[in-house]
């Protein structure tokens, strides 16, 4: 199934305090990872609106990564706990709606986990290559 030349496009919504900083740390540590991820910085994983995720998927993003602080570490006390519920609900809806919920990843990556950020991206790129392109990319009737 997997197409060697296929390079998945991942839109990542990262919280400013943990995962975005973790991604920066991956940079300052020069940890290499595939260039497939494009990051949108938000203040908190709790402010990732499911509509953004849906838009990305419907527009044809091959994957959407939502990154936040580990439970208990939210800069805003509980944003990540709320995000957890919201994204779990969203993934269920996506699945029920006949779309591929496995293209949506929620991961906690702290500000000190540069390596983990790189690992998450590497894993996600691998998994998406396995899956192949998002069929909605070519779908005009959405």
């Amino acid at each position: 199934m997997s197409d060697e030349s296929f390079e998945p496009k991942i839109v990542a919504f990262l919280c400013n305090w943990c995962t975005y900083t973790g991604a920066d740390l991956a940079g300052t540590s020069r940890i290499q990872y595939p260039p497939n991820v494009r990051i949108i910085r938000l203040m908190c994983s709790g402010s990732v609106d499911p509509t953004y995720v849906l838009k990305a998927l419907l527009d044809g993003a091959d994957g959407v990564l939502i990154g936040g602080c580990h439970p208990g570490d939210c800069h805003y006390q509980s944003g990540n706990y709320k995000a957890r519920r919201r994204i779990i609900a969203l993934k269920e809806i996506v699945k029920q709606a006949g779309l591929d919920e496995e293209r949506v990843w929620l991961r906690w990556v702290s500000a000190s986990e540069g390596q983990r950020f790189a690992d998450v991206v590497t894993q996600m790129v691998g998994a998406l290559k396995e899956k192949g392109p998002n069929p909605l990319r070519q779908e005009w009737a959405v």
Partner: protein
């Protein structure tokens, strides 16, 4: 709560019910009654009735549902100053009302809710056709409440929402008309708070037993019908995707407009956020080769699912309102079933159950997000 029975004379069940509603006004228990009313032309619509005499046109049993009356309870109850009102509702309307209370779109403080066991309802178009063509079988339906075998008039069907409604019985209200299992010609069993009963001069009386069994019998049949529909719609969603199922949507927003839960003043999808520049449409068309218009149909339905499906109480008016005859209610109810189970949330059950997405527990789904 007290159980009692309103006497029925000459088999006039409706008359007895009207009499009860009038008493609420006459005894100044409430200042107005919100109830389904028969218009002079014969249609049925909710109205807020202040004059007891006009309640002769009230018909709490009219088997027709054009809108979910919870939508109209909101404006008359949500904010102070407001009067003390009694509202006659179907079970699904009561559930919607509970959700709206959580969303602060309605308030129960000065409201007396009256919920009536529901045998099933017709679409407005069917109801009107029936009226013009031999009459509505309302009496038959009431008579059949005892056995729970109420059937639509031949050649007609109940609303799709009703056919898969597994909660047709009144509950959670101040006053419940407990029609299931009752021989209504002998009286209408109901439950109501003691102090109301006292004001109305009603004494405790045991109605006939067996309501629970009848309700279960009806619910079981409905569940079966529901599950058939769910598995069929899930199959379609899996095969065609939501975009396929809603392929003929014209984005009229009727589903959203009629939905009792969709409470926004202005839908996000009518806001400037989804009002794109002309160049943007062209851009999309060029990107994908073609671009479906009206735009954003699929994301509209997905977002609506996302916003309200946990609170979907299954009244089904969305499907009735759809000009393209899309199975909106089936989709929403099927998706809602899974999501509600996921969060162990039963919409409409109690105003004390918090909405799932504004709360959380630290110790749930602890593995999610930590995958290595």
């Amino acid at each position: 709560m007290m159980r009692t029975v309103i006497p029925v004379e000459n088999n006039d069940v409706l008359g007895a019910a009207r009499g009860f509603l009038k008493q609420l006004l006459e005894k100044e228990i409430v200042e107005a009654v919100l109830a389904p009313m028969e218009t002079p032309s014969g249609s049925v619509t909710p109205a807020l009735v202040a004059d007891p005499a006009l309640l002769d046109a009230a018909n709490p049993f009219a088997p027709v549902m054009g809108l979910n009356a919870a939508r109209v309870v909101g404006p008359v109850s949500a904010r102070e100053p407001r009067g003390r009102i009694a509202a006659v509702l179907r079970p699904c309307e009561m559930r919607a009302l509970v959700e709206l209370v959580k969303l602060q779109q309605a308030a129960l403080e000065d409201l007396v809710t009256i919920v009536v066991d529901c045998p099933g309802t017709y679409r407005v178009t069917d109801y009107d056709a029936m009226r013009a063509n031999g009459g509505v079988n309302q009496d038959d339906l009431l008579a059949a409440m005892q056995s729970g075998e109420a059937a639509p008039r031949e050649g007609y069907v109940f609303r799709d929402g009703c056919q898969m409604c597994e909660k047709p019985h009144a509950e959670g209200a101040d006053i419940t008309f407990e029609l299931f299992g009752a021989n209504l010609s002998a009286g209408i069993p109901l439950s109501l708070p003691d102090e109301l009963a006292e004001k109305l001069g009603l004494a405790p009386a045991d109605g006939p037993g067996g309501r629970a069994e009848v309700v279960e019998k009806v619910a079981a049949a409905r569940r079966q019908a529901r599950d058939t529909r769910f598995s069929e719609i899930r199959q379609r969603l899996a095969n065609e995707g939501i975009a396929g199922v809603f392929a003929s949507c014209i984005r009229c927003h009727n589903c959203m407009t009629t939905c009792p839960i969709c409470y926004c003043k202005t839908c996000l999808f009518k806001s400037p956020i989804f009002d794109h520049d002309p160049a943007q449409y062209l851009n999309w068309a060029q990107r994908k080769g073609a671009y479906r218009l009206p735009a954003d149909t699929t994301i509209f339905h997905l977002t609506r699912l996302n916003h309200m499906v946990l609170s979907c109480i299954g009244c089904g008016v969305c499907s009735d309102a759809c000009p393209a005859d899309l199975p909106v209610a089936r989709v929403f109810r099927a998706v809602g079933q899974d999501l509600q189970a996921l969060f162990e949330y039963e919409p409409g059950r109690s105003v004390d159950d918090p909405l799932p997405l504004i709360t959380f527990r630290e110790d749930e789904w602890t593995g999610v997000g930590e995958e290595r």
